[in-house]
Symmetry: C2
Subunit: 396 residues, 2 copies
C-alpha cells in the first residue's frame, strides 16, 4: 500500500470550492476521485479568472489528481449512468443547494436503495435541515453569520472577513472527516449513511475561546487587531520595511526581548514589570517598542530575536511564503504539469504520513477527459454504446 | 453501533489548543480519549481565564468528554505506565515541541517497538523536520509566516490576524484527518505509522486562490477588507445599527437588489449595468448603496433582501450566533453540566451523521479524575499498587 486511502472510489459531484477542496484532499491521500461534470461547461470554476493558456488556475489548483466524466444528470440516460456508477463506488460527495439531488431523482433515499453501503456526503451553506437550509450562501455571508467576521479586524468598529474563503474551506475539511469516520462505521455495520456538513456549523465549531469568554464574562468579543487579549507584548509591530510579529509570553521572554531590542533598561521600568503591568500600560508600551522596531527591517529583527530565543516572525506575503526554505523543505509547494496550461505551482499535502505518504497524483482533468475510460472500465460499456450516449447528449 | 468511532482508544498527551481540539473531535465522534496530564497542574490551559467556579471555561470547552489520568512522564515508574498504556491503545496524539518525546525516551521509534499497530500523531508549529522545526510557534507567528495575515485586513496597509486561533484549529482538524486515514491504512497493512502535522503547512494548504492568483498574475495578494476582488456588489455595507453583508453575484441579483433597496433606477444607470461596470465604478457604487442601507437597521435589510432572494446576512456577534434559531435547530450550542463549574454552553458537533450521530459525551475531567479507573481497567493494577505509585509521585 502506497497511499492511505488507496482502493477507495469517490463519485464527486461537487463544484467551485468546499466540495472540490474535500475531494482534492481525498485524492491527495490516494482515493480515486471521479468528478462528474455537467457537459455544458462543467464545474463553474473552470471559468474563474485568472487563466493560464485558457485554463483556470483556480480550478486546476483544487481539482488536481481527479478524473472528469461529463454526464448530463437531467437526461434520463445520464441519470441511469449515474445510478450504475453509484453501485460501484464507496462515497458520493455533492455540494448542491439542499434539495437539488432530490429534484433530480438522485437523493440519498434513492441512492442508498441502489447501494446500501454508499456514504453520501453533502456540504452546503446551512445544511440539509433547519430554518435557513433553503437560503443561498456565499463564504462572505457565512463568515458574517457565523461570528468569525465579528471577531476579526483592526478594531471593534471594523469587523473584517478572513482573506481566504475560510467558511468554504472548513466545510470541505470537515466533510473529509465525516467521510472517513463514516467509512469506519461502515466497517462495523456494513452500511453507509448520509453525512451533512454546513459551512455555518463549521464556523460555530471553530469560534474557539470567543464562546467560552462570552459565556463566562457576558462581554461580547470584538475585533482586537493583532493584539493578544491577555498577554503583552504579543502583537504585530512595525519595522523599517513592514512588520514583525513578536510573542513574548512570559516575564523571562520580556527581558530577553528588551535586551535584543537594545532597550534593556525597559525591563526594569515599573510600568512594565509584570504581564498585568504591561497590559495596563499597553498603548504606551506598544508605542515604545514600535519606535525601536521601526529603525530596522523585518529580516534584521527576525534574525536578532530568533538568536535571543524570543518567538517572532515576519508577515509573509504569498510570494515570500512560496519561496520560504522551510515551506519548500516540507514540499508544501509542488509543481504540476498540465497538458494545456503547462507548469503550475500548487500547495502540497499538509499531512505527512511516515509509511504511506500522500501525493498529488497529477494535474486537473480536462472536461470529460475520462468519460470514455471510466464508462468502459467501471460499467463495461463498449465504444459503440458510448458513442450513442454521446450523440444523444447524455454524456460528453 | 451508536457513534462512528466507537471502540477506538486514544492516548492523548496534548495541551492547550491544536492537540486538544483534535482529540475533542475524536471524542465527539465516539472514540475513548484518555488524556495523560502532568500531575503538577495538568494541561496549561486549566489555568487560562476566564474561570467558572475556579475551572477554566477554555479548558472545559475543548476537553469535554475525555478522561484524565495524571502521570509524571519524567518519573521512571510513570514512563513504564505510559509504555504499558501504549500497548492497549490505537492512537497516541501529542503536540509537544518536536524532540520532547524523544528526550523523554518516549519517541515514535520506542513506542512503535512496543506497539507496531500504534498510530502516532504529532501536531506542532513547524513540523518534525525542516529548518524551522526547532523554533517556538504561537498562532500569531504562524498566521504571519503562513500568509493568512497578509491577505486579511481592512486595506493593503493593515494586515490583520484572524480573530480565532485559526492556525492551531486547522492543525487540530488536519490531525484528525491524518489519524483517520492512517487507521484506514492500518486495516490493510496491519501497521501503524507516524503522522506529522505542522500548523504552517496547514496554512499554506488553505491559502486557496491567493496562490493561484499570484502564480498566474505575479501580483501579490493583499488585504482587501470586505470587498470581493472580482464581483460587485459583493461586500459589507453599513446599516442604521451595524452592518449587512450583500452578495449580488450576477446582473439579475443586481436588479433585484436595486428594487429591494428602493432605488430601481440605479439598475438602468450606465455606470452600473454589468459586473465590469460596477467593478470599474465600485467606490461610487459602494457610497450610493451605503447611503441607502444606512437608513434602516440590519434586521430590516436582511428581511427585505431575503424576500427579494438576494443573498445577504448580518454580521452576528457571538451573543447573536449563540441565540440564532438556525444554529440552535442544528444543535450547534450544547449545554454541559460540570461537577464543579456547573452549567457551561459549548459549540456542538459540526458533522451530522444520519445513522451514527456524534455526541458530546460529558463534561471535561478534573485533573486525574480517571487515574484509578483507567489503571485498574486497562492495566489491571490493584488499589495497593496504585496507592504505592501515588506515594512515589509517579501518578496523581
Amino acid at each position: 500500500m502506497k497511499m492511505p486511502l488507496e482502493g477507495l472510489v469517490i463519485l464527486d459531484l461537487t463544484r467551485v470550492l468546499a466540495g472540490p477542496f474535500a475531494t482534492m484532499m481525498l485524492s491527495d491521500m490516494g482515493a480515486r476521485v471521479i468528478k462528474v461534470e455537467n457537459p455544458a461547461g462543467g464545474d463553474d470554476s473552470r471559468a474563474f479568472a485568472p487563466m493560464l493558456n485558457g485554463e483556470s488556475a483556480y480550478f486546476m489548483s483544487i481539482n488536481r489528481g481527479k478524473e472528469s466524466v461529463a454526464i448530463n444528470l437531467k437526461d434520463p440516460k445520464g441519470k441511469e449512468l449515474l445510478l450504475e456508477l453509484v453501485k460501484k463506488v464507496d462515497v458520493l460527495v455533492e455540494n448542491f443547494k439542499p434539495g437539488t439531488m432530490d429534484k433530480l431523482g438522485l437523493g440519498y433515499e434513492v441512492l442508498s436503495q441502489v447501494n446500501p453501503r454508499l456514504i453520501y456526503a453533502a456540504s452546503s451553506g446551512f445544511g440539509q435541515y433547519g430554518p435557513y437550509s433553503h437560503l443561498p450562501a456565499y463564504d462572505l455571508i457565512i463568515q458574517g453569520m457565523g461570528g468569525l467576521q465579528s471577531i476579526t479586524g483592526p478594531d471593534p468598529e471594523h469587523p473584517t472577513k478572513v482573506g481566504s474563503s475560510m467558511a468554504d474551506i472548513l466545510a470541505g475539511i470537515f466533510t473529509v472527516i465525516g467521510i472517513l469516520a463514516a467509512l469506519r462505521a461502515r466497517e462495523v455495520t456494513g452500511l453507509g449513511q448520509m453525512v451533512d456538513v454546513a459551512m455555518l456549523d463549521c464556523l460555530v465549531a471553530t469560534l474557539e475561546n470567543a464562546i467560552a469568554r462570552y459565556v463566562v464574562t457576558g462581554s461580547v468579543p470584538r475585533p482586537a487587531g493583532n493584539d493578544h487579549p491577555s498577554i503583552a507584548p504579543f502583537a504585530t509591530f512595525e519595522s523599517a520595511d513592514g512588520f514583525v510579529n513578536i510573542a513574548a509570553g512570559n516575564d523571562s521572554l520580556w527581558r530577553k526581548l528588551c535586551d535584543a531590542l537594545g532597550i534593556g533598561e525597559l525591563a526594569e521600568d515599573s510600568r512594565f514589570l509584570t504581564n498585568s503591568d504591561r497590559l495596563a500600560n499597553w498603548p504606551e508600551l506598544k508605542a515604545i517598542i514600535n519606535e525601536h522596531t521601526r529603525t530596522k527591517p523585518t529580516d534584521h529583527w527576525v534574525k536578532v530575536l530568533r538568536e535571543a530565543q524570543v518567538p517572532c516572525g515576519p508577515i509573509n506575503t504569498v510570494d515570500r511564503v512560496m519561496a520560504d526554505p522551510h515551506v519548500l523543505a516540507r514540499d508544501m509547494i509542488v509543481s504540476l504539469v498540465h497538458p494545456v496550461a503547462g507548469e503550475l505551482k500548487v500547495p502540497g499535502v499538509p499531512i505527512k504520513f511516515s509509511k504511506t505518504p500522500g501525493e498529488i497524483k497529477g494535474p486537473a482533468p480536462l472536461l470529460g477527459q475520462h468519460t470514455r475510460s471510466v464508462l468502459q472500465e467501471m460499467l463495461g460499456l463498449d465504444q459503440e454504446a458510448i458513442d450513442e450516449l454521446k450523440e444523444k447528449g447524455a454524456i460528453a
